[in-house]
């Protein structure tokens, strides 16, 4: 019987090891992810017990907890709520949370693993629990400039420091006031939340990093030009035939340039000229010669088709797969099924600006504990070496020309070399345009890369364009960085 008993003992051991394993997985490995689940109300309830840490942009407080004296003890307050809503998100007693409030909740609520010793100290010392402060990379002056420049238009701005990936501005309009959702009057919160959700303009969606995905239009030509030069088969001086229109192969679609004219006077046109004048016909030819695989490869190195976390997850920008020639031709000027967030287009410019190296975008600089000790700091991280520095320099020259004397001149700043590219993307036959600008400045030692999208024609109707609407907004953002 003893042999059998040994085996039964082994079976019991296996059963218990399974339990040791499963509890470890839940309580140690997956615990952080489970705390972030929006259905997990525990973290939320905890927040009422603790003085939730503030969110800071530089020395500006953009979210903080103030004592209330009622049963909830603390009330979350957003001093410039509408301006910073895309960054802070909201923290609501009944409707969950979003943004930094959601994705840095562990630190803000004081429950992260790096606050473990702090927690023990606190228990021993009998202090009241207090969350850590999250310092974001946003520059209040740039954020304000972007917000003012967008005005009452529907759109978004993202500004990035090219050498680090730090996000300096993240604006999305129309916006909302997170203070309304942080109220302790749960009925008021529920109705306010319902109204925001039902609003056709979708103020709760962050257009800067996800939200509506717009076709990038001609601003995508920067990616195609980079792919062309990177292939080694093309330079800025490569020439293309210059007809007024182009019948796409195997399709009834005909491509015209934006002004329904040929691209400049010549029989042929160079790549640089096509970018400067933002012509579609030569780009469609280039795209078809280059092939969708080459374009996709470069686009993906800039971040298309991949998931990014800021730490909130960004929407995935798309360069489509399995394209025929006609579809490839359309994607070469950012139409067909190409979709991009302003964050993505800012990363394209940031990559070109940073000599071809795309840095991981991030919103958070550091997290500091109650005694101002740094709990976590974010070091710049390379996301991809998208193109070589030579290729980047060549594309920069094309973008410089485009702003200096071409179709993107709305972003011109006296005395500064601004590189950029506009886009006026079609959303369908009678749909309003999505207006774009992406670029960076100064061309030497770039300090900032920016992307602007304005939806719904910028409220100007059919005569709007990226250059009329988006480029001037980008200009104000660039100036805000250069003047600081």
């Amino acid at each position: 019987m003893n042999r059998e008993l040994k085996r039964v003992s082994a079976l019991v051991l296996v059963m218990f090891f399974a339990l040791f394993g499963s509890t470890t997985v839940i309580q140690a490995v997956q615990a952080d992810a489970l705390r972030l689940d929006p259905r997990n109300t525990r973290a939320l309830y905890d927040s009422y017990d603790t003085e939730r840490g503030p969110i800071l942009a530089g020395s500006t407080v953009i979210a903080q907890s103030v004592p209330t004296g009622d049963e909830y003890v603390f009330q979350r307050e957003y001093p410039q709520g509408q301006l910073y809503a895309p960054v802070t998100g909201y923290f609501s007693p009944t409707q969950g949370s979003a943004g930094i409030e959601q994705y840095m909740n562990d630190y803000l609520s004081g429950t992260s693993n790096s606050q473990f010793l702090d927690t023990i100290n606190r228990i021993v010392a009998g202090q009241a629990p207090k969350g850590a402060a999250v310092e974001v990379s946003i520059d209040p002056a740039v954020q304000q400039a972007a917000f003012d420049a967008l005005g009452d238009r529907q759109g978004a701005v993202v500004a990035i420091e090219p050498s680090t990936g730090r996000i300096l501005a993240m604006v999305s309009t129309p916006t909302y006031d997170p203070n309304v959702l942080a109220s302790h009057d749960s009925q008021a919160v529920i109705s306010a939340f319902g109204a925001l959700e039902d609003d056709p303009l979708k103020p709760l969606s962050n257009r800067a990093s996800s939200g509506n995905m717009n076709p990038p239009g001609s601003s995508f030509k920067v990616v195609v030009a980079a792919a062309a030069v990177a292939s080694g088969k093309y330079t800025a001086d490569s020439t293309f035939p210059n007809p007024v229109s182009l019948q796409l192969p195997g399709s009834s679609a005909t491509v015209y340039n934006w002004n329904r004219l040929s691209c400049g006077p010549g029989e042929t046109v160079t790549l640089a000229e096509a970018i400067r004048l933002s012509c579609n016909v030569p780009l469609a030819q280039l795209g078809m010669e280059l092939g969708d695989d080459a374009i996709r490869e470069t686009a993906e190195k800039f971040g298309f088709n991949s998931r990014m976390t800021l730490p909130m997850p960004a929407g995935i920008s798309v360069y489509p797969k399995n394209l025929d020639d006609a579809q490839t031709g359309l994607t070469a000027f950012g139409q067909y099924e190409v979709r991009a967030t302003p964050l993505q287009m800012a990363l394209v410019s940031a990559g070109i600006a940073n000599e071809g190296t795309v840095m991981q975008p991030t919103l958070v600089d550091r997290v500091t504990g109650r005694n101002l000790e740094v709990l976590k700091s974010f070091e710049p991280q390379v996301m991809n070496d998208a193109v070589t520095s030579e290729t980047a320099a060549s594309v920069t020259d094309m973008m410089l020309d485009s702003v200096a004397s071409g179709q993107s001149n709305g972003a011109r700043i006296e005395g500064v070399d601004v590189a950029g590219k506009t886009g006026t993307a079609q959303n369908g036959e009678d749909e309003p345009y999505s207006l774009w600008f992406t670029g960076f400045a100064p061309a030497k030692n770039p300090e900032v890369a920016v992307a602007v999208v304005v939806e719904n024609d910028g409220n100007l109707g059919r005569h709007s364009s990226g250059n009329i609407v988006a480029a001037p907004i980008a200009k104000k953002v660039l100036e805000a960085v250069l003047n600081r």
Binding site: L5, V8, L19, T23, V25, I26, Q27, N40, F116
Partner: protein, 485 residues
């Protein structure tokens, strides 16, 4: 081992003295009689004293747990519950004193482990009561303490009344029939009660409700042990060899088929997968231990696998349980009626606890439904953390290993088999419940032994403690009686 050695040493010392002091025959007789008595007195004292020390430690842990719950959740100390707890401790010490007289050689670890588990369960149930504002008789903790008292009294009665576990062997088939009747009771109209879909309760009016299945598991363990000791020769000796394993004859498959059919009937008619799995697992393991044929385990697994598969395909509630298990976090399953909401809330609770837990009285275990019964481990995990759960699982493991140890050391096959069976029910029940809560297996409605709120389960598990104590006593006393004087 230690006691074995000391026993030898004691004998040597006695012999030494005999040589040293030549004495008359009368003196010699008197001397050995005295020494025998002394030996009897001294050895048990050692085990029981060890038990007493551990027991005081267990009660200290329990009191501290309740105090921490009060400080954490109330901010003050409420002495009422402390008095109740002290009363319960007194009963446990009463059991200890009984053991000194009626089972002096019983295992010294079983009682302290059961006490600390029971106490932690009470503390956590009380903690949830504080959060939900339940008090008096509507508070589960008050009822749990009362049931604990009844359970310990039942254990005392068993240990005092059953002087020798071999008595149970005589009534093997009576216990079988008793278990069968107990299992059928909830199906009897009028006294059967259905609670959250499972028909496993009986009740008279609103007064008392009881889960007879809990007691049935003990009766079944006794029955299986007695039956298998009688029949194992035919179950293990004959049969065809296949794949290097001896497979039983077709007609010897009878018993396992009957138990399998019984388990399936429980699944189909009482909607209670956990109990079915418990009984079937218990029988299969006891069958294996008694016959030494690995093929029984294979046959058992195959039968239960087939049954569970068909049940999951044809019975909606079983299908639902499987879906909740496999796809717990999908919105659809989470939001469904009878979906994974409870399970996921329990997991959120565990995650909330993390490594060291929120501290007693400082978590939010009450957010999980059934946080005092099915999800008691999630509640404990939330407030005591992974560290606390490891400690609790370690206590269970120790408890079970003491039971299996009786199997190794036992004098008679019936006692060995019974002890292993009883210990294994505890192990299997812990596995089914904790595994269910942590998504190792689909969650089924059993009780977590000693911890979960529920009177029937407490009484049954304390009876198991009493039986294990009784069987373990016979091991320790066994050789001493046979040593020639």
């Amino acid at each position: 081992m230690m006691t074995e050695n000391s026993r030898t040493r004691a004998t040597a010392a006695v012999r030494g003295r005999i040589v040293e002091v030549p004495a008359s025959q009368e003196d010699f007789k008197a001397d050995t009689a005295v020494i025998r008595t002394m030996r009897k007195l001294r050895l048990p004292l050692k085990l029981r004293n060890r038990e007493l020390t551990l027991l005081m430690f267990a009660c200290a842990i329990n009191s501290v747990a309740i105090l921490l719950v009060q400080l954490g959740a109330l901010g003050t100390v409420d002495l009422d519950l402390i008095y109740l707890g002290a009363g319960l401790s007194a009963l446990v010490f009463g059991l200890h004193i009984c053991l000194r007289y009626v089972a002096p050689q019983a295992d010294p670890l079983l009682l302290p482990i059961a006490t600390v588990l029971n106490g932690l369960g009470v503390a956590m149930i009380y903690r949830v009561d504080l959060a939900t504002g339940a008090s008096g008789w509507s508070a589960a903790s008050t009822r749990q303490i009362t049931w604990s008292a009844i359970a310990v009294l039942a254990a005392i009665a068993i240990i005092v009344l059953i002087k020798n576990h071999r008595v149970l062997f005589r009534y093997t088939y009576l216990f079988g029939a008793f278990a069968f009747v107990l299992l059928l009771l909830p199906l009897v109209p009028g006294i059967g009660r259905e609670v959250s879909g499972a028909r496993v309760w009986i009740g008279i009016g609103d007064l008392v409700s009881f889960q007879p299945g809990e007691i049935a598991k003990i009766a079944l363990a006794i029955f299986f042990a007695g039956y298998l000791v009688r029949t194992r020769d035919s179950l293990s000796m004959v049969g065809k060899k296949f794949l290097g394993m001896q497979f039983p004859r077709l007609r010897d498959l009878g018993p396992i088929i009957v138990v399998w059919a019984l388990s399936m009937a429980i699944i189909v008619f009482q909607h209670d997968m956990g109990t079915a799995l418990l009984f079937f697992g218990l029988f299969t393991v006891m069958l294996y231990v008694s016959t030494g044929r690995l093929s029984w385990i294979l046959i058992g697994f195959a039968l239960f696998g087939v049954g569970a598969f068909f049940a999951s395909q044809t019975l909606t509630y079983v299908h639902g349980r499987f879906q909740n298990w496999l796809d717990a976090f999908s919105t659809q399953v989470y939001d469904a009626q009878g979906g994974s909401y409870q399970l996921v809330q329990g997991i959120f609770g565990l995650a909330h606890g993390g490594l060291i837990g929120t501290g007693l009285g400082q978590g939010r275990p009450h957010l999980t439904p059934l946080s005092q019964s099915d999800y008691i481990m999630a509640s404990l995990g939330e407030e005591l953390g992974l560290a606390g759960l490891f400690a609790i699982l370690g206590l269970y493991l120790l408890f079970v290993s003491r039971g299996i140890r009786i199997g190794f050391r036992g004098q008679d096959d019936f006692g060995k088999l019974l002890a292993v069976g009883l210990a294994f029910t505890i192990a299997l029940q812990v596995f089914i419940m904790v595994g269910g809560v942590t998504r190792v297996i689909p969650l089924t409605g059993l009780t977590t032994p000693f911890l979960a709120a529920g009177g029937s389960s407490l009484v049954a598990n304390w009876i198991i403690v009493a039986l294990l104590l009784r069987v373990s006593d016979s091991i320790r006393t066994g050789p001493t009686q046979e040593v020639p004087s």
